[in-house]
């Protein structure tokens, strides 16, 4: 009886140990959900409506190796694709008058796995004057 209890205890301990190991391995492997980040995240222009310029770098990673593409959904433009990859990096010269959205998309299914944004901000907000008219107060 004591032997049986001891064996049960050992089995339970070993099970917990494997569970802990598995969990530990999972924490240090590629994430369960995809991650997409951009650095820097904000581009500042002097005035609203000006083109803002910024060198940005995208980093992504995902547990499942497959074919993925980084897509600018604001302009509907594919920036770069990776074949059978679990992570990637892409840098480019961002130039825009407004904020742009970017997604990591599965190349075959089109499923969006992660998204991020480069935000365009400005110091002075301009208001265009009403055109072609005389004012009479």
């Amino acid at each position: 009886m004591m032997m049986l209890n001891a064996i049960k205890t050992i089995k339970t301990s070993v099970s917990f140990a494997f569970l802990a190991m598995f969990t530990t391995i999972n924490v240090h492997s590629a994430p369960v959900s995809a991650l997409l980040s951009v650095t820097p995240e904000q581009c500042v222009a002097l005035r609203k409506g000006q083109t803002c310029y910024l060198e940005v770098t995208f980093d992504w990673q995902y547990a499942k190796a497959a074919n993925y593409c980084l897509v600018n959904t604001t302009r509907n433009k594919v920036l770069k694709c990776w074949n059978t990859a679990t992570k990637g990096q892409y840098s480019f010269d961002f130039q825009s008058t407004k904020s742009n959205d970017f997604v990591l998309r599965h190349q075959d299914s089109g499923k969006i796995l992660a998204q991020t944004q480069v935000v365009v901000a400005w110091v002075y907000k301009s208001n265009t004057r009403s055109k072609s008219r005389w004012r009479l107060f």
């Binding site: 500042v44 002097l46 004012r135 107060f137």
Partner: protein, 289 residues
């Protein structure tokens, strides 16, 4: 009666008069060029600090240059065509404390405003009487009031180029007239905004004589000789750069050269070795609300 002058007061007052009178006409076009705006309006308020070096005509041969820090306090407010503006550095663009106006007409390329502003500040040259009933006392040698000029300002926007013409007349004191013509251009290189500006300003004899002339009774109680100033032209050139540090902070740097008319420089108020041009270099950082 032998009289001497409070040179520090005179130098400061005169310096402000000279730079103010020429630069104020360029205020709005310079603001538009720096901000890379095209016939737009904006409401903002900003405060900041700057550092400047200025050399130019002065009544004091030992105070022909000024270097130091200065505070910035600018704003622009627009409401249904009415606007209030203040865009001033210590010596560049304008030391015009305030511009009030009304946008009477605008289309894609042209804008016409009715504006009022004080283009010439008051002036007081103080000296110590050395003789007479006021012997040893400080007296006013020359006193002039600030003006308030009403006029029209026509601005043209063509791509990155801005033209601006203005005509105005004083309604407060001397009733003189001034006119100006300026052309400017801005360039954007990445997030750096560069601008250049050339201008000419005309002051009629009434305006120049009020601020630069010396009346006989003033000559009698001072070391000045009597002087009557005629009409003249001042010329100015400016280059600068503006950079948005982030959403709230702006960096600026400007270099300005102003060439003054002989009618102004021949005034006995100014020292003969002052030269005929002023140069100003300034750099600043401002927080924009």
């Amino acid at each position: 009666m032998n009289l001497s002058i409070n040179k520090l007061s005179a130098a400061i007052a005169t310096l402000l008069t000279l730079t103010f009178a020429t630069a104020s006409q360029a205020q709005s076009i310079s603001q538009a060029l720096r901000g890379n705006s095209q016939n737009t309006t904006e409401n903002y308020f900003e405060i900041g600090l700057g550092y400047t070096n200025h050399e130019g005509p002065s009544t004091n041969p030992r105070k022909l240059d000024w270097t130091g820090s200065y505070s910035i306090f600018n704003w622009s407010y627009n409401y249904k065509g009415f606007f209030l503006e203040r865009f001033a550095d210590k010596f560049t663009e304008s030391t015009d404390p305030f511009v009030i106006g009304y946008n009477a007409y605008t289309n894609d390329n042209w804008s016409f405003d009715i504006i009022g502003s004080s283009k010439n500040p008051g002036l007081k040259l103080i000296g110590v009487a050395m003789g007479g009933e006021n012997n040893g006392q400080e007296i006013d040698f020359v006193t002039r009031d600030s003006d308030f000029m009403i006029g029209g300002r026509l601005s043209g926007y063509f791509g990155n180029n801005i033209l601006q013409f203005s005509v105005s007349q004083d309604i407060r004191r001397h009733h003189g007239r001034m006119a100006s013509a300026l052309v400017g251009r801005n360039w954007q290189l990445r997030n750096w905004n560069f601008h250049g500006l050339l201008g000419v300003q005309y002051s009629d004899s009434t305006t120049n004589d009020y601020y630069k002339g010396v009346r006989q009774e003033e000559a009698d109680r001072s070391s000045f000789t009597a002087y009557q100033a005629g009409a003249g032209f001042n010329y100015n050139a400016e280059v600068g750069v503006t950079y948005p540090i982030n959403e709230d902070w702006v960096y600026r740097a400007t270099a300005t050269v102003v060439s003054y008319s002989d009618e102004q420089l021949n005034s006995p108020m100014y020292h003969s070795t002052s030269g005929s041009t002023s140069t100003t270099f300034s750099t600043s950082i401002s927080y924009v609300f």
